[in-house]
Amino acid sequence: MLILDAERLGEHSPWRVHEVERGAIAKFARALQLDNPIHFSPERAHAAGYRDVVAPPTFVVTLLPWEIPGLTLPEAGVLHGEQEFEWAAPICAKDEIRVSGWIEGVKTRTGQQGQMTLITVASEGINQAGEIAFRARAVLVVTEEVAHAGG
């Protein structure tokens, strides 16, 4: 079931450190059927001005934070309503990205399926040089039925 602790809204999770691997970037790029060598060849990535092979933009979905403070989602049935990313410093292999996440906001809306809870979960990734690599924001939609399931 859905458990939301309003008092912990905005509380950042402890940093989770991800080491970005060449193989993980290549695998992600292949899954999107990308063939640009900057995702596969360190030489070609260097020639294009990157430190190492560079991640495709949505690779950041693999850079998850630890558990979001104050939020326990139902095991199944949560809908993904919106997603936003902002990218700053490029994410390259051998980077060490630390990621923290938090609840940015909670809204309720009444629709055809009864009351829905819209939870905005934000996260931020910072690289080894202290530069912001990305910011992410997801709007998760939990219907009344899903919120109380398995509860």
Binding site: A24, K27, F28, R30, A31, L32, Q33, L34, N36, A48, P56, P57, T58, V61, T62, A76, G77, L79, H80, G81, E82, Q83, E84, F85, E86, W87, A88
Partner: protein, 128 residues
């Protein structure tokens, strides 16, 4: 790139194999993306495409069209309808505004002649 320019429609078809590859690459093993029985139990006609795979394909198809040194700075999408594998999909983008080398594009993905399943806005920094 000029205001009003249209990129696409790019026709794509997402195979079930691609769903499995993406699940592995993104470490997202929600069974609604690979198990028909589970997907049906949630009211879907069968397995559905990961929202984030749709978003990734939209970003990459459009960024392939712009100068290599252009940078995608921001992308916001709304997931409006489910997307099914093995259906013909179209990705289209239109340049809404360009100001001080920052381009704003409206982007969508969906089946032909239906309301788009995913709509979004992209901000791209152009070189120079």
């Amino acid at each position: 790139m000029q205001v009003g320019d249209v990129f696409g429609p790019f026709i794509i078809r997402i195979s079930r194999e691609q769903l499995v590859r993406y699940a592995g690459a993104a470490d997202d093993y929600n069974p609604i993306h690979y198990n028909d029985a589970v997907a049906k139990a949630f009211g879907f006609p069968g397995v559905i495409v990961h929202g984030m795979l749709n978003m990734g394909l939209m970003a990459s198809r459009i960024m392939e069209q712009v100068e290599p040194s252009a940078r995608l700075e921001q992308f916001h999408v709304r997931f409006r309808q489910m997307v099914l594998p093995d259906h013909e999909l179209m990705i289209t983008a239109r340049v809404r505004q360009i100001e001080e080398r920052i381009a704003h594009l409206d982007v969508q993905l969906g089946e032909k002649d239906t309301k788009p399943a995913v709509t979004g806005r992209m901000r791209i920094r152009l070189p120079g």
